[in-house]
Symmetry: C2
Subunit: 152 residues, 2 copies
DNA sequence: CTGGCTGCTGTTATACTGTAGCGTTATCGC
DNA sequence: GCGATAACGCTACAGTATAACAGCAGCCAG
């Protein structure tokens, strides 16, 4: 059929950026690819390391600038408590997700829980606070690691 | 009468540490005092600067060690999104609060909202995740700044 | 075509945040 | 006192992030 069986996150990012009239340049796309193929959040300097193909020694601003763009476009999230970045699992609409972060295996689960959003919204409303960005990160041990008794 | 009219956060911290059998040493108390008297969150190096009375040039580990202790005892909180620290407003029982952070005036409001806690707990429960530490920080513009039209 | 403008990239240098390691000093139980 | 432990001071360094400037490509008005 005309539509491929599955679009990966990169193809969806391409389409999204076209629709928004912004440029997902090769460098930016590369950073996004690295983050999406990683099984855990990566620090900026880990991304930098992963971008060295062959010989060229890239500098920090390169990756930080790409990350700034990807964050603005909601294609990746920053995990403040880890100083690390992760590809967004549903970037089609802008959002600031909630994250469950396993300290044992490094697994990160992104949520978009309406009850959490609503409770934050109503708490802010009560004080007249106007929210712009929400950071919600729960650190602990994931179900899998609890089951294995790895929890320490 | 026997009881002073008002106990400040320092006196309450003293009592708390005695009860717990831990030592609120002069260095630690000093850091706590600086944080409690500040009108906004302070970075570790700002605290360091504030601790230089007269001549002695203190080194970073001094303040980081004091902060580690105060964090363990729940007397201060770390704001991950600002890399800064703030004194807790109700340290009597251990908790990880929620914070409304104004990007305009720097004001930080600490909440302990049961609806937020409950929604986080139930989201974690659904996936079998065992929470240990919660980071909830909402960045935006406080009511006061919105009223003044300073919001940018 | 030309020249200016804008946005992206490369590079150097540096600022800011946090820790390892080690020796000394204070504190506490005995 | 005396040994064990906790706290402190210090040097050095690791990790995270940004400022500032230069080059280059594309786009568009003139
Ligand atoms: Zn997301
Ligand atoms: Zn796990
Ligand atoms: Zn608190
Ligand atoms: Zn404000």
């Amino acid at each position: 059929m005309g539509t491929p069986a599955a679009f990966g996150p990169l193809e969806r990012a391409d389409a999204l950026c076209v629709r928004r009239g912004v440029r997902l340049t090769p460098q930016r796309r590369r950073v996004l690819a690295i983050l999406c193929s990683a099984s855990r959040p990566l620090g900026a300097y880990e991304i930098l390391e992963a971008m060295r193909d062959g010989s060229r020694p890239l500098a920090p601003p390169t990756v930080y600038r790409a990350l700034d763009f990807l964050l603005e476009q909601g294609l990746v999230h920053k995990l403040e408590s880890l100083h690390a970045f992760i590809g967004c699992r549903h970037p089609d609409h802008p959002h600031s997700g909630q994250f469950l972060i396993c300290r044992t295996c490094g697994l990160v689960t992104e949520l978009e829980d309406e009850a959490i959003c609503e409770s934050l919204r109503s708490a802010a409303d009560e004080t007249g606070f106007r929210p712009e960005r929400r950071v919600v990160e729960v650190l602990g041990v994931c179900a899998c690691c609890v089951g294995k008794g790895v929890e320490g």
